[in-house]
Every structure is written in structure tokens, then in C-alpha cells.
């Protein structure tokens, strides 16, 4: 057993960005894992993504054609099971995504593999080791996989720089598997979510504004910015207190506790009550004119800047 198998992810004919992060992660442990990284594409037309997977250090791209047009959990599960049997990797990397959650745990359970979900970092100590959050991310738990010949790890997006494609064309190999009749679900269609949703606890990207907004008349300015960025607008308590924002948009102890992928805080100083509601965000970017603002204590990234000037510049970026 050796090497790393990355399972790329595609949806509706597009490779999902997490795939390149997984390749970075795989390359980071490639030598310890036995010196080989293969990338599997399980898709109706797997060869269409080969160019995007041309990353230096990837030894081979395994093309696994499926009879189903869209992701199907049982087809993906059977494919992964057979790939593991055939390729014998020590480590299988997938994204901590809705698709992966739909089949990888079942494969790991049935095959008796090592398994970790929502890993935030990856290392090696005789075998893979991962870190993941515990107790609602208030603690970090480090896991190992003793006695497991193959371990499946679902990696949280955002932890690794995406690998740069554009290297030499990788070696490819088509792996034909008998997947007919494996599907247990029938695809009936896709729907875009309704945009009227204002449940800030469900949003993956929150643009949150605070006292720095200064005036009610400035709120629409940030509503527009949020829309342009594809973010949901939320706020700290003073704006709700002032009646400038509805209470459904309030983040904090007396408002909602949120856990978006990105929390972009503009003009929020970070009162304790507010921090309690947002410190669980995966990535926190704080913008404030006061370099001593407490929010910088919990932020991942900080910028000392005027929120209005920054908003103008940010708008240019999207």
C-alpha cells in the first residue's frame, strides 16, 4: 500500500476548485506516502478535465467513465471501492463536500478503512495524521489511523493553496468499471436556490457591517456591495439597536451565531457579544480604522482601512 489517490470533484461539466487544493495536499505528503500521487476523475466524460489537472508532481490521472450524467452516490461509491482495491493507496483524499459526504463514509465503513471527516490539516507520522475541530471548533483534535492500510480523508476547503495547473500533460489511464445498474437514485433535475433567503446562519459568505457605517443612508451602499460580492449582508448589534438593520441580520450573542466560510467584517470593532456569534467562521477578514480593535484578535486577516474606501476598491475587484 502506498501513494495518494485524490478524487477530483466535478459538477455539471465543471471541475470544482477543491480538486486542486486536494492535489496540493497530496503533494505535501507525497514523499512520505510512497512517492506517488494519482488523481481519479469519476464522471460521464472524465477526459474533459485532464488539462486542468496538469499539475507538476501528479503522476497519473485515472479516468473513470460513469453511465450516469450527474454525480450519483452509489456509482461513486462503487467506483471508489474498486479503485482502492486496484490501486492500493495509503491515503485517499476527497473534499469535505456534500457529494463526498454522500458516499465516502459508506465506503470507509464497509471496507473497514481509516476515516476522518472535515480535516483542517494533513501530516505524516508513519502514516497520515490529520487535525480537525472538536466541540464546535472550540478545540482541535489530532487523529491517527493505526493498523489501516488505506485511510480516507475528507479535507475542508480553504486549508491549502490550490495547485497550479499548466504543467506537462499528465499520464492518463482509463479505468473501465462495470457501473451499470449500480445507481440507486434517479436524477430529476437541478434548481437554483431562492434568493429571498435571509437566514444568515445558512449563508456561506457574510458581509457584516458595524458602527463604522455611521449613517442609515449608507446601508444601501453595502447592500449593493454584498450583492456584487455574492454575500449576505449582516451586522453587529448597534445597527440593529439603531433600527438601521433588521434583527434577523444581527450576528452575536443576542442575535445569530454564524459559521460561514468567509466572514468579512467592515467597521466592526468586535465587542465580546459580537465575537461570540462569529468566531466560528472559517475565515474572518476584518477591516477597521482602529488597529487596536478587538476584532483583529480573532480575525484570520486584518486590514487597517476606512470601510468606505475599501468598499469602493473592493467593488472594482468583482
Amino acid at each position: 500500500m502506498s501513494g495518494v489517490l485524490v478524487v477530483a470533484e466535478a459538477r455539471r461539466g465543471e471541475l470544482r476548485d477543491v480538486s486542486l487544493e486536494l492535489i496540493s495536499a497530496a503533494l505535501s505528503v507525497k514523499d512520505q506516502a510512497g512517492g506517488r500521487v494519482a488523481v481519479a476523475v469519476i464522471d460521464q466524460q472524465p477526459d474533459r478535465f485532464v488539462d486542468q489537472l496538469a499539475v507538476d508532481g501528479v503522476d497519473e490521472v485515472l479516468l473513470v467513465p460513469t453511465p450516469t450524467e450527474h454525480f450519483e452516490a452509489h456509482v461513486a461509491g462503487r467506483a471508489l471501492t474498486e479503485l482502492i482495491a486496484a490501486e492500493s493507496p495509503s491515503l485517499v483524499l476527497l473534499g469535505f463536500t456534500i457529494d463526498s459526504l454522500g458516499f465516502a463514509p459508506a465506503v470507509a465503513a464497509k471496507q473497514g478503512l481509516g476515516f476522518a471527516s472535515d480535516a483542517i490539516s494533513l501530516g505524516w507520522d508513519g502514516g497520515p495524521i490529520v487535525a480537525r475541530g472538536a466541540y464546535g471548533d472550540k478545540l482541535v483534535s489530532e487523529l491517527e489511523f493505526p493498523g489501516k492500510e488505506t485511510t480516507v480523508v475528507l479535507l475542508r476547503a480553504g486549508g491549502f493553496e490550490p495547485a497550479q495547473a499548466g504543467g506537462a500533460a499528465p499520464a492518463t489511464r482509463t479505468v473501465e468499471l462495470s457501473l451499470d445498474g449500480v445507481a440507486k437514485t434517479e436524477h430529476l433535475g437541478f434548481q437554483e436556490a431562492e434568493s429571498a433567503d435571509v437566514d444568515i446562519t445558512k449563508s456561506e459568505f457574510l458581509l457584516s457591517i458595524g458602527r463604522g457605517v455611521e449613517d442609515k443612508d449608507n446601508i444601501p451602499r453595502f447592500e449593493e456591495l454584498a450583492e456584487k460580492l455574492g454575500a449576505t449582508l449582516s451586522s453587529s448589534r448597534p445597527l440593529v439597536d439603531a433600527g438601521w438593520m433588521p434583527s434577523a441580520r444581527q450576528v452575536g450573542q443576542s442575535g445569530k451565531t454564524v459559521k460561514p466560510r468567509v466572514y468579512l467584517a467592515l467597521g466592526i470593532s468586535g465587542a465580546v457579544q459580537h465575537l461570540a456569534g462569529m468566531r466560528t467562521a472559517e475565515t474572518i477578514i476584518a477591516v477597521n480604522t482602529d488597529p487596536e480593535a478587538p476584532i483583529f484578535g480573532v480575525a484570520t486577516y486584518g486590514a487597517v482601512a476606512d470601510m468606505f474606501e475599501l468598499a469602493d476598491e473592493l467593488e472594482q475587484q468583482f
Binding site: K216, R237, V240, A242, G243, S269, P294
Partner: protein, 730 residues
Amino acid sequence: MPRDPKYDILFEPIQLGPKTLKNRFYQVPHCIGAGSEKPGFQAYHRGIKAEGGWGACCTEYCSIHPESDDTMRVSARIWDEGDVRNLAAMCDRLHEYGALAGIELWYGGPHAPCHESRATPRGPSQIASDFELNTFPRYMDKDDIATVQQMYVDAAIRARDAGFDIVYVYGAHAYLPFQFLAPYYNHRTDEYGGSFENRARFWRESLIKVREAVGDDCAIASRFAVDHLLGPSSIEVGEDGIRFVEYCDDLVDLWDFTVGDIAEWGQNAGPSRFFEENHEKPYTGQIKAGDHTNKPVVGVGRITNPDTMVAIINSGQFDIIGAARPSISDPFLPNKIDEGRLDDIRECIGCNQCISRWEIGGPPMVCTQNATAGEEYRRGWHPEKFHKAANADKGVLVVGAGPAGMECAMVLGKRQMSAVHLVEAEKEIGGAVNWISQLGHSDGKENLHRGAARGLGEWKRIVNYRQIQLDKLRNVEVHTGSRLNASDVLEYGAEIVVIATGCHYATDGLNAATHEPLPGADASLDWQLTPDQVVAGQKTIGKRVLVLDNEAYYMGASIAQKLAGEGHEVYLLTQAGDIAGYMEYTLEAPMLHRDLHRLGVSIHPYTMVSSFEPGVAHAYNVWNPGHTEDFEIDSVVLCTARISNDELYRELKSDPARLEQEGIEGLYLIGGAAAPRMLVDSIFDGHRLAREIDSPHPEMPLPFIRERRLWGESSNEDYAAQLLNTADVA
């Protein structure tokens, strides 16, 4: 949880002359209605704050002589040994907790009408008070000046003997020393008038005399309005304000800075509707930061946020965080910061109900957020301590999570009832507060004087605080989006049922002026609305709107402000002598009037509607019904009467046999569901029931201690006995 080190500075001691203040939390002088005549109230109210960590607590303004008598408003008094004895009770209580006791020595001049003492106040010039329009002072010659200064000295000595640590010569709010300083009041041409030094002479001499008398034993403080807010005609901070501080800096151990005067003291005790936290900073912040004093400075600004407090000290605005309203709303504010329990802080909402009841002149001070304020002694209520109920094994259902229901469920939870279910029909808890807190805005533009209408958003803190507390109580479950009917309640399995279903605005124009519905009034029509319908925004409102306000508190005026701010032509009618009369007591009225006037709202007091027809409201003058006026209008807002939502209670109560069969031992009605009232009183009602849920008849309030003089020869002994008997109440 230990204190966050960033708040350490708030807990550093500071020297005030001969006294050491143990931390930076200071309850500035503020009225409660206790004075020297309700010593239990005085001692226990201030004492609770000392227990909660305040480093010093002061009396309210304290009259130094019967010539300064503010009746019907209640001040403290230190006229004689009896007052010394009564106020000593407060000092003793504060000293038990290591807090300093301060006394604010006051001579009101023409602002004190002397209705009880029948005395004649003296003043620098003979001009009547700007609000006690018939109170003229007697002109003070030099003998009078010496006499009044001796009154300060005698009072200071009595204060020291009572146990006070900090003695004020109170000059803020345009009382006597300030009247000498301000040319607005002082038209003299002798050495006490004219030049700055002459105008400052009375105050400076008074400080010198008081300092000589008690300065070795007590810290000498002065409260000074650094800006009269009247522009160049009076004291401005950049001119005489700074000059005065520098001139008298050698004579004080503590400066207590404010702004404005008592005639419009809402500029100082700013309601949240118009003023945000630390709103006095542009004035009071200049002095320390500009290096114009070497003495410790305390100041206020409804400061509830510990981060603001730290910023105030670090920026050199003040050395000490002063508070009146925040200390009423949460007497344990300092301890909660010290213990890292920021989420337990019960923040002042700036509604100024506390002030209103004092302004009215009779009842004890109240607080919307803290139902125990004023009840520390007479009912023995402690804001943070709750006894386990004798019937704590019972399960309780509270129907309705408005102000009364939230408070009741929270207190029942703290009293360790086995299970409390708070069930709310709407998606969010909060009841009427949720829509009321969206009012109070107009167009956001600045008014004359200071500030713009900020709205009532901070009133939402009523909900926020209770939500956090309810979340923490493991024995309380809150269920929203669930409307219960009578059979749901009967089959709920609760032994105690509390109905807190609130109230609603009448849709037919029923009102306090005519005691009947109004012909033509019907809020189910497109063009007629109740106030909550205005906020809900479901109906289109026409260009010309008539707001009929029969309550004369904030609702009618707030609707008028909102609609005028949105560009409507608004007529505001009331049968009363003034729109929003109660807002005089909450000090919101002056700013409100400026806003309504600037917005062009057409105001019609003493005017009542007789009937509505599409497009027209027929109205008349209440003193002369023959004097009629028609208003051509497109829409109508009916702020007429409110009506209890008590159908559920009535239905349950109508079948006592069924209640018994289902095991319901107690059925109670609280808050607006019992009778429409102000938020402060609804919350009190919910609190009161929960505090007394294990009394023999919880629906009947238990008697409270009345601090009154008992008739008869042994009255003094009785009184002393009463004091002794109640010493361990809290």
C-alpha cells in the same frame, strides 16, 4: 470566568483628595424619590449598587436649607440632625461594601419653588426661573451671599458627621453657583457680576469655605456644566467652561462634568431616542484631554459598554466612569465586568422612565429593564438574587413572550421552578417591543440644538437581555411560532398557567376622550391604520395623513415623525393640551418638538375627531364643540385606545371544574393582557407575579413597606423598630 485584562484599568483605584476610590465606577448624584424622608429606600437602593461593585454612590441633589425646596419634586435634604440620621443609614450601607458615599449640596435659587417650606429663594438677579415661571428670587446683597455660603458650610459639616466621604458644591444644571457664573442668569454690576472673575467669585468663595470646613476629612467635588448649550449668551466650553475649571482647579478633589441646564436636562440625561452612548464627549471630553485640569474627572453619557469605558479612560476624556441610568438598570454592572459576565449586563435602554416618575413628583423611581429598581427596601427585591420558590416542584406555562411574559418566565426560571415553558405565537420573542423599537425615526436629519432622531432601536435591549438569560436557564424552554388555544393550555400539563398575551390597538376608534368608538373609524379599511399596521407596511399610506393620538405618550408623535420623515403631510391631533405630554417627563419632548416642527407636522392640541368619512375627518375643539374644523386627508392613523387580548384567559377562567380536572392550580393574567400599560409597568407586572408565585394569593400583590410617620407618642420608636425589622429584608 475571570475579568478580561483589557478591563483592568476600570478596576484601578484612584485618589480623591483624602479618600481612595477603589475602582473607576461612580454613581453620580441622581434622583430616585427617596430623599431624606425615605431612608430605607435611600440606603438600600444605593447599597445594592455598592454591593454590585460601584466604587462610590451619591445622594440625589441635597438641599442645604429650607430656602431651597423643590417640592413637588423630591430632593434629599440635610437641614437638621434628623436628616443626618436618615442619610447616615445610606453612608453606613455603602461603607459595608467599601464604597464611598457622596452628597450633592444644592441651593436651587429661582428653580426651587419652595412649595413646602414657603420660603423665598435668593438669586443673583431677579429673573424668574425658565421653567418655574412664577418663582422669582430675592436679589442677593453681600450679606445674603455670606448667609447662603454659610448654609453650604453648615450643611457640609452635617454631611461629614453623617459619614459622607465626598461633598459636592453643586453648580451644574444651572443651580445657584452656576447662576452666578452664567451671564444668562447674572445681570449684576458689583464684584459678583460682569467679568469672568466676578461671576466666578461666588462659586470660588463657596468652595474655599467648604474646603476649609471639611476638606481634611472629605473629598471636595464640584459638578459643573462645562457648556450651557445656549451659545455665546452663556457658558461655552471653549471659553468660560475651560476657564472656570482652570480657575478653581486648586479647590476641588474631583470634577463632575455635565452639559446644559435643568430647564432642558434631556440634553444631559439624553434619551436613546435622540442621543447615543457618550454623547457629551464633544463638550466634557475637551477638558481633561486638553490638559486643563490636574484633578480626577468623572462624567456620564449612558455608558454601558465596557469597551467604551476603557476608551474613555485611555483617551483622557475622564478618569472615572460616571453613571446614573446605567447603574439603575444594572446595579451589578461593575461586578459583571469584573467577573467576565458581559452577556449578563442589563443595559439601560434610555427610555427615561426612571426620570419620568420622579418628574411627576410622587412615586418611586422605576426602571423598564430592572423591575427591582426602587423595590430593594420596600419589597426586599434583589436584582441578582432569587430565592427558590416554595412551590418550585410545579410546572409553569407562560403564554406570550412579550415584555411581561419574558420577564415572568425569566424570574420563574431563576426561582428554580422545575419546568417553565414560555410559548409565543410569533416567530420571535419580544411581543410589541419588536415593532415599537422600529419607531422613533424621522428623516435622519439634524435638528436645532443637538442630534437627530435615532429611533427606539435600543429599546430592543429589553428583548436581547431576556433572550440571553432565558437561553441560559436550563429549566426554561422557549417555543416560538406556536399559538395555543384553550384546549392546548388545558392539556399542557402545567400546574401554573400565566397568560401574557398582550394587547392591541382598537380598530374602531374607541378612545379615552369620548369613551365610545368613533363614527366612521374602521382600521380594516385600506385608508385607516393602527400604529402597528403603519410599521408592518402592508397598506399604502396616502399623501395627507391624520394621526389621532388619544394616548399622548410616544405612539402618535412617533407615527407622525415617521410619516413626515417619509414625505407625507401630517396632521397630529390630540384631545390633550399637548401632543406627547408624557414625553415632558421623559425629557424627550423638547427634541421631539424640534423634529416635528422642522418636519412641518401640523399640530392640533385640544382637538378631537367627531367622525371620519373617506377623504375627510371632522374635528372640534374640546373646549368649544361648536368650533369645528374639517381636515381633508387621504389616510388616518388611529392611536386611540388599546385593548387587552384576554379572550384566552376568559375562556380558561370560565370553566373552573375543567381547570381543576386538568390539574391547573393557578391561572394568572399579567401585562398588557390584564390592562394596556407602559412597557415599564408590564415588565414589573411579570416580575411581581414571579417573585410572589409562592405567596398565598399570587394574583394579589403582597403589601410593601411604607416609610411613613406613624401617629402617636411612640411613633419614633415604632419607626426605629420598623427600620430594624426590615434590616435583613434584602
